[in-house]
C-alpha cells in the first residue's frame, strides 16, 4: 500500500484527507477533538500545568485545574517519568505534588496489571460485589446511551462531551460509567468498548480497569454517587433546574437510599465485612486522574 500523505497546509486539510481515508471512522462519529496531537502541543500543555496545591484542591471539580495531559501520556508522547520530574520541579517539597504524582502512579499501576493479565483485561477479573452476577447485566449498550439521548440531562451532557471532545473529566467518566453499569445494569465491557471508540486517551489498561473498578470486578465494592455529589462538583450548572427538567430523579437521596435502590440484595453501606465500606474511601477513574470524595 502506498505511503500516506505528510504534507498538509493546515489542520483543516489534514482532517479532510483523513475523512476521505477513514470514512468508516468518520461515519461512526464526525467530530474532531480540540486536542492537538504531537510533542509540541504536549510540551506547551506541560509547561502551563499546575501540579501543586491548585491541582490537589480543585481536581475533583469538572472546572478544576486538571492537566489534560492524558492523551499525550497514553500515546507515549510524554513519559510518566518526565511528567513526574516536571511536577517535582514546580513544587518546593515533593509532598506538595503527591496528589498529582499518585495519579501518574495509577497509570503505571494499570499498565502493570495489563502486562500481567493480557487479553483477560476484557474479562471480569473478580466477581461483581453488587449482589448480582454477570448474567444479570445486559451485554449491549442501549441506544439511548450510545447516542446520548437518555433524557437525564447531565448524563446526556457528558455523552456529548465524550462525542465532541474525545475527553471527559475523570469525575464525568466515573459518573457515566456508574450510570451505565449500576443504574442501567449493563456489563462494563459494553461501556468500555464505547469509551474506547471515542476517547483520544483511551487504552485497554486505564479504560477497562477503571470500568472494572467502578463495576466492582476489580475493587472491593461498586462505585456509585448521588445528586449532591454531582451538584457539588459541577458548580452551578444544574443548581436551579427542577428534577423534572433534569430527569435526575434516580440520583436523588442519600448514599444509603441510593445503595438500597441499586443493590437491593446486599447491605452495602453497613457491610463491615468489607474493609472499604465505612468510611467511604476516595475513588477514582484513571487517566490523569481525580478523586471523588464521597459524602
Amino acid at each position: 500500500m502506498a505511503d500516506m500523505r505528510r504534507d498538509f497546509k493546515d489542520r483543516e486539510e489534514l482532517v479532510a484527507y483523513l475523512r476521505e481515508q477513514f470514512p468508516e471512522a468518520a461515519a461512526r462519529s464526525p467530530h474532531v477533538s480540540p486536542f492537538i496531537g504531537g510533542r509540541t502541543s504536549a510540551e506547551s500543555r506541560l509547561a502551563v500545568s499546575k501540579f501543586g496545591a491548585e491541582y490537589a484542591q480543585t481536581r475533583n471539580y469538572v472546572t478544576g485545574s486538571v492537566t489534560r495531559l492524558s492523551p499525550y501520556i497514553r500515546h507515549g508522547v510524554l513519559t510518566l517519568a518526565e511528567v513526574r520530574d516536571a511536577a517535582l520541579a514546580q513544587v518546593s517539597r515533593a509532598e506538595d505534588a503527591e496528589k498529582f504524582i499518585s495519579e501518574l502512579g495509577w497509570r503505571d499501576y494499570w499498565q502493570r496489571v495489563y502486562a500481567q493479565v493480557g487479553d483477560k483485561i476484557w474479562q471480569d477479573l473478580e466477581p461483581y460485589k453488587t449482589g448480582f452476577t454477570a448474567d444479570d447485566y445486559a451485554d449491549e449498550l442501549p441506544d439511548d446511551i450510545r447516542y446520548g439521548e437518555t433524557g437525564v440531562r447531565f448524563i446526556d451532557d457528558l455523552c456529548k462531551e465524550l462525542f465532541t471532545l474525545g475527553y471527559l473529566h475523570n469525575h464525568g467518566r466515573m459518573w457515566l460509567a456508574a450510570y451505565v453499569v449500576h443504574w442501567r445494569r449493563v456489563k462494563w465491557q459494553a461501556g468500555a468498548r464505547w469509551f474506547l471508540e471515542h476517547l483520544v486517551d483511551g487504552d485497554p489498561a486505564s479504560n477497562n480497569l477503571s470500568w472494572q473498578w467502578v463495576a466492582s470486578t476489580y475493587s472491593h465494592k461498586p462505585y456509585y454517587y448521588n445528586w449532591d455529589n454531582v451538584l457539588r462538583f459541577t458548580g452551578k450548572k444544574y443548581l436551579n433546574a427542577s428534577p423534572r427538567i433534569l430527569g435526575n430523579e434516580a440520583f436523588l437521596g442519600t448514599y444509603e437510599v441510593i445503595a438500597r435502590r441499586l443493590f437491593p440484595n446486599i447491605d452495602l453501606e453497613h457491610d463491615h465485612s468489607q474493609p472499604h465500606q465505612s468510611p467511604p474511601k476516595p475513588t477514582r477513574f484513571k487517566q490523569d486522574g481525580k478523586k471523588d470524595k464521597r459524602r
Binding site: G37, R84, A115, A205
Partner: protein, 145 residues
C-alpha cells in the same frame, strides 16, 4: 552506533520523537502502520485518528495502513534491514506481532526498548492500588536520576 542496517517500527503506544528507538538509531528509516483490523475492532472514531496523525507528523516516519506484520515485513525488505527497533508495549497484540516477525524473519534482530521507568521496582503486589502505591511511593516522589 551500530553498522547493522536498522529500521524503526513506531506504534501507537509510543509516538515520542525522543523515544529510545529514535535516540539509538537517529536517521534510520521508520514506519508507522495504522492497524486496520484494530481500528475496526475497537470502532475507533475520527477524533483519535486525527490526534495520532498529528503526533506522527512530528516524527520522521513513513505512514502506512493495513496489516502491521505485512507492512513491517515489506519495510524491512525495502531497506535490507537486519535489525528492527521498537518500543515496549504491554499490549498482547504488540507481543504477537513481535513473535510473528521473529518467526518470519529469523535473520532480523528485533529489539524492544523501554523508556526510563516511572519507578524501577519490578516485584510489586498488584492486587490493589494501595498496595502498589505503598511499595513505590518513595521512588515515585523522587526525580529521575
Amino acid at each position: 552506533m551500530s553498522d547493522v542496517k536498522t529500521v524503526i517500527w513506531v506504534h501507537a503506544d509510543n509516538l515520542n520523537p525522543h523515544s529510545q528507538p529514535f535516540k539509538l538509531a537517529a536517521g534510520a528509516p521508520a514506519l508507522f502502520v495504522f492497524d486496520d483490523a484494530l481500528l475496526q475492532a475497537w470502532g475507533i472514531t475520527l477524533k483519535r485518528i486525527v490526534f495520532m496523525y498529528e503526533c506522527l507528523l512530528e516524527l520522521p516516519v513513513t505512514i502506512r495502513r493495513g496489516d502491521v506484520l505485512e507492512e513491517l515485513t515489506r519495510f524491512v525488505a525495502e531497506h535490507d534491514a537486519l535489525r528492527v527497533l521498537t518500543s515496549y508495549s504491554p499490549s498482547p497484540r504488540h507481543a504477537a506481532i513481535c513473535a510473528a516477525l521473529r518467526q518470519r524473519l529469523p535473520r532480523v534482530r528485533l529489539e524492544v526498548l523501554s523508556e526510563a521507568p516511572f519507578v524501577r521496582a519490578q516485584q510489586v503486589d498488584l492486587k490493589r492500588f494501595s498496595r502498589y502505591w505503598q511499595a513505590v511511593k518513595g521512588e515515585a516522589l523522587t526525580r529521575t536520576s
